[in-house]
Structure formats: structure tokens, C-alpha cells
């Protein structure tokens, strides 16, 4: 379980996170939803320590991550897999080398074992015959899948995905959502997913955190969301026609 405890984050004059607290549960897909620019990515980056929080703390299974220095964070970092909003694949490496990168850095596997692991991960995300291609030679959806494969190559305990299906067609999105759900279930990871895609919300919303204007406005399960009468949440979730129609039923 990851506990985010009263964190604040400002950039210059601009307050992006203003006293946010929430918990992300183990073995579940935890969604962070909210409009564009409301601070989802910043919340995620604060959680994993890419941004230092101004105040507050983040606990990974009771370990106070915010108080640790670079060296102390290392073991926890190796339990984290992260899929970035833009994929963040290393341009100079092939798909295979990208997925192998963490293995090269942190394990003492033989080349064969590493290749096995890489192929296993790539198969897991339904990506075969792309091993030798460079990131510039594959499509956006494939990049996302390679990024997921890289994130899971070290068997992470915590999996963070920043909009894993933005810019993808609805069908591929659902494939990726399902993949994330399966991985979470299979490996019992604590998965945190940023999204503003309502399909994903209905697909995999087990635990939902709604960020609005830098505040944690609402937190609950999907069933609770359906019952909720929080005006901003309703306004956000039922923005599209389809969702409005669903609400009527």
C-alpha cells in the first residue's frame, strides 16, 4: 500500500498540489482522474520522488520515502516500474535493448536469461517481431506497450502508468487497460494509473482518486462514484453524451 500524506507542491508562484492525501491499495488498480492540467502527473511524480514534495510525506508500505536520500531510495526505486506519458523509451536503443536495460543495470543474469525475460515481457504485452526495431520505427501504441514491458521487466511491486492509453484508439486502449489489470492481478502489484479516459474508468476503476484544482476532491470505489453527488465529480465524469445517457439509465 502506498500512502500519500498531506503533500504540497508549488512551482514558483503556482500551487499545483494543495494538501493531497490518498492511499493506493495493493493488488488493485488505483485510478487518478481529473481534467488536463489539474496535477495528475505532478502527483504521480511526487509519489515516486521525481519531484520533491514541499511538505508532507509518501509511504511505500510504511517506509517513509520522502525522508530518504538518493542511496536509501535505491532499493525502493528498483521495486517501482513506471510508464511515462510519452513512453520515454531510450531513442538510441532497440526495443529489445530498452526492455533489457534495467536487467543489464541491476541483475547478474546471463545474456540468455536476460533475452528470455525480455521475450517473456514483450509477449506479455503482445508485441512480437519488433525486437530489433528502434523507437522511431514503431507506432504510438507499440511504444506504450514497450514502455509497459520495460516497466514490468524487473517484476515491480509498484507499477505507475501515466496515461497509458492517451492517443490510442478505443480498442487498443482497452487492450492496454486489460493488460494492466491482468498484470496487477497476476503479480499482485500496487498499480497507479493516471487517466482522463472514461472508458478506462469503467473498465478498471477499482479505487478512484479525483484531483480537482490541486486538491484531492473525492476518493472512493467505482460503485461509490456511481452513487456520488459531488457536483465537480459528476460534471467531470458525465461530460460526454454517452456517459450522460448511461447516468439516466
Amino acid at each position: 500500500m502506498i500512502k500519500v500524506d498531506h503533500i504540497y507542491k508549488t512551482f514558483g508562484e503556482k500551487t499545483v498540489l494543495d494538501d493531497v492525501s490518498c492511499t493506493f491499495e495493493t493488488g488493485k488498480v488505483n485510478l487518478i482522474i481529473g481534467q488536463s492540467g489539474m496535477g495528475k502527473t505532478v502527483l504521480m511524480k511526487c509519489t515516486v520522488g521525481l519531484f520533491e514534495v514541499d511538505k508532507g510525506a509518501v509511504y511505500f508500505d510504511g517506509r517513509n520515502f520522502s525522508e530518504m536520500n538518493f542511496k536509501e531510495r535505491k532499493p525502493i526505486r528498483q521495486e517501482i516500474g513506471m510508464v511515462f506519458q510519452g513512453g520515454a523509451l531510450f531513442d538510441s536503443l532497440t526495443v529489445e535493448q530498452n526492455v533489457m536495460f534495467p536487467l543489464n543495470m541491476f541483475t547478474h543474469m546471463t545474456q540468455e536469461e536476460k533475452l528470455d525475460r525480455v521475450n517473456f515481457c514483450l509477449q506479455r504485452v503482445n508485441l512480437v517481431n519488433a525486437n530489433k526495431l528502434f523507437p522511431s520505427e514503431i507506432s504510438g501504441g507499440m511504444k506504450k506497450r514497450v514502455a509497459i514491458a520495460r516497466a514490468i521487466s524487473m517484476n515491480p511491486k509498484y507499477l505507475f502508468c501515466d496515461e497509458p492509453n492517451s492517443g490510442l484508439d478505443p480498442k487498443t486502449s482497452i487492450v492496454i487497460d486489460n493488460l494492466i489489470m491482468e498484470l496487477t492481478e497476476e503479480f499482485g502489484t500496487t498499480t497507479v494509473v493516471n487517466t482522463h479516459d472514461m472508458n478506462s474508468l469503467t473498465e478498471m476503476g477499482e479505487k478512484i482518486v479525483f484531483i480537482y484544482k490541486g486538491k484531492n476532491y473525492w476518493e472512493g470505489t467505482f460503485e461509490e462514484l456511481e452513487m456520488s453527488d459531488n457536483p465537480e465529480l459528476i460534471d467531470f465524469v458525465y461530460a460526454s453524451k454517452i456517459m450522460k445517457r448511461m447516468r439516466k439509465h
Binding site: 535505491k74 526505486r77 511515462f84 510519452g86 520515454a88 534495467p102 541491476f106
Partner: protein, 279 residues
């Protein structure tokens, strides 16, 4: 009465203007100084971050090998071209300037050799390399920054500044001396060919000149300069790339800054080293 009021008023206005200009100047100076201190502090912090124990030695070793090729071999073409022409021009110009009949013709060889070894090869070639290597390092690391690749390294628990920068600095320090030695060699050959072909400096005179009063220490001095400049180019460029903030536009700006600042520091340290070692 009225006239004196007008005069007083004018003086008042002028005084206020001077004061305002002075205040503005002081503020600008203040922000500039603050910014400079900020940059210097951040550079030191960046440098300190580099020298921690590598995660895995073999990975760093491979990176160094890779950088040796991209920094050294990639630069050979432009270095060769620049050196040959530089040598040719220095020789012809020295011959043109040494019109005094008291000065023997072989002095052209001495002058050409010493200026190539002491100044042209180490400084000018490293300035050329600052343009070539500096911009490529800054844009490579800058692109990694804006596309979150550096974040991806950090999240894995890798010391990203060390992983990206240290191999480049090491490779630069290893390969640049060779590049400069090649440049010296080609420069002297360029002078020889130009002097001989134009008939201004006969081959025998030039060759006598380049052997006359040769000080091996000059080569050592050239190599010391080269090492310092190589360190400046790689570290300053990596620093600017690493602290890129924003998007593609900022990557371009970082790469320009990398070249400008490396060049300025090369010139400053050229002066300092010459003063320290030769004077």
C-alpha cells in the same frame, strides 16, 4: 520667477531620471550576479553528482567505448580539414610577414610549428570541437530530459547525471589528446605543402625550420590545454543539456548555450593556462 521654476523642475526631472537609470542598472546587475552564482552553484552540484560509484562498471565501460567513437572518430573529418588549411595559412602568412632579409627563410618553419603546437591546434581545434561535440552532447541529453528519458533513468534508481555524463567526460579526456596530436601533424604538413607548392617557402627551409629549436615541453603544454578544454566542453555541454526545461525549442537553446559557454571558458582558460605555465 517662472524661469527659475522651470529650471528647478528640469533639474529635478534629470535627477530623477539619473536615479531611475541607476536603480535599473543596479537591479539588472543584481539579477545577473544572482543568476551567475546560481549557475555556478548548480554546476558544482552537478559535478559532485557525477563522481559516485557507478551502478555497474561494465555498462559504463561500454558507454565510454561508444562515446570514444562518436566523439573522436566523428570529429576526425572536420579536424583534418581545419588543420591542413590552418597550417597552410599560418605558413603563408608568416612568410608574408617575415620580409626582413636578416631573418632566414627557415624561421617561417619555426614560427608555423610553434604557433600550431602552442595555440592553433589545441585552442582553435578545441573551439571547433566545442561546436561539434558540445552541441551534440547538449541536444542529446536535452532531448532525453524533455522526453522524460532522464526521469525514466531516475525512476530505475540510476544516477542519471553520472550515467549520461561521466562516460562522455572520460571519453573526451581520452580521445581529444589524440585528435590534437593528429591536428598538429596535419597542420605542419599543410604548411609544408602550401609553402612548397606556392614556392614561397622551399621544402628544405621549412623542414629545417620545424626541426630547429624544438621544445618538447610545448607538446606537453598543448596536451595539458587539450585535457582542460576537453573537460570544459564535455562537462559544460552536458550540464546545459541536463538542465533543459521545456520542449524542443529549449533543447535548441541549450545546445546554443553549450557551445557559447564552452567557447568562452576555453578562451578564458587558454589565457589562464598560458599565463600560469608559459609566462
Amino acid at each position: 520667477m517662472n524661469g527659475s521654476f522651470c529650471r528647478d523642475f528640469k533639474i529635478h526631472v534629470i535627477k530623477t531620471n539619473i536615479l531611475a537609470t541607476f536603480c535599473k542598472f543596479a537591479t539588472t546587475l543584481n539579477t545577473m550576479l544572482t543568476k551567475t552564482w546560481f549557475e555556478i552553484g548548480r554546476y558544482w552540484k552537478f559535478m559532485k553528482g557525477l563522481f559516485v560509484k557507478p551502478e555497474k562498471f561494465i555498462v559504463y565501460y561500454r558507454q565510454v567505448m561508444h562515446e570514444l567513437v562518436s566523439i573522436g572518430v566523428g570529429a576526425l573529418g572536420i579536424v583534418a580539414l581545419t588543420s591542413v588549411f590552418m597550417g597552410a595559412v599560418i605558413t603563408l602568412q608568416s612568410a608574408y610577414n617575415l620580409v626582413n632579409p636578416m631573418v632566414p627563410l627557415y624561421a617561417v618553419g619555426i614560427v608555423a610549428r610553434d604557433s600550431i603546437i602552442l595555440e592553433f591546434s589545441p585552442t582553435i581545434i578545441m573551439l571547433v570541437l566545442a561546436g561539434k561535440i558540445g552541441s551534440s552532447i547538449a541536444s542529446e541529453i536535452g532531448t532525453m530530459r524533455v522526453t522524460e528519458q532522464i526521469d525514466a533513468l531516475e525512476i530505475m534508481g540510476i544516477n542519471s547525471s553520472g550515467y549520461l555524463t561521466l562516460p562522455k567526460i572520460v571519453a573526451g579526456l581520452l580521445i581529444c589528446p589524440f585528435v590534437v596530436i593528429i591536428s598538429i601533424f596535419l597542420g605542419i604538413i599543410g604548411g609544408w605543402v602550401a609553402g612548397d607548392m606556392s614556392g614561397i617557402v622551399p621544402s628544405a627551409d621549412y623542414i629545417r625550420g620545424i626541426q630547429d629549436q624544438f621544445l618538447p615541453f610545448n607538446i606537453v603544454f598543448a596536451l595539458i590545454k587539450t585535457l582542460v578544454f576537453a573537460y570544459i566542453i564535455t562537462s559544460v555541454s552536458a550540464y546545459h543539456g541536463f538542465h533543459t526545461d521545456g520542449g524542443a525549442l529549449e533543447v535548441g537553446q541549450s545546445s546554443t548555450k553549450a557551445v557559447v559557454y564552452s567557447s568562452i571558458f576555453i578562451l578564458i582558460f587558454d589565457y589562464i593556462l598560458t599565463q600560469l605555465i608559459l609566462a
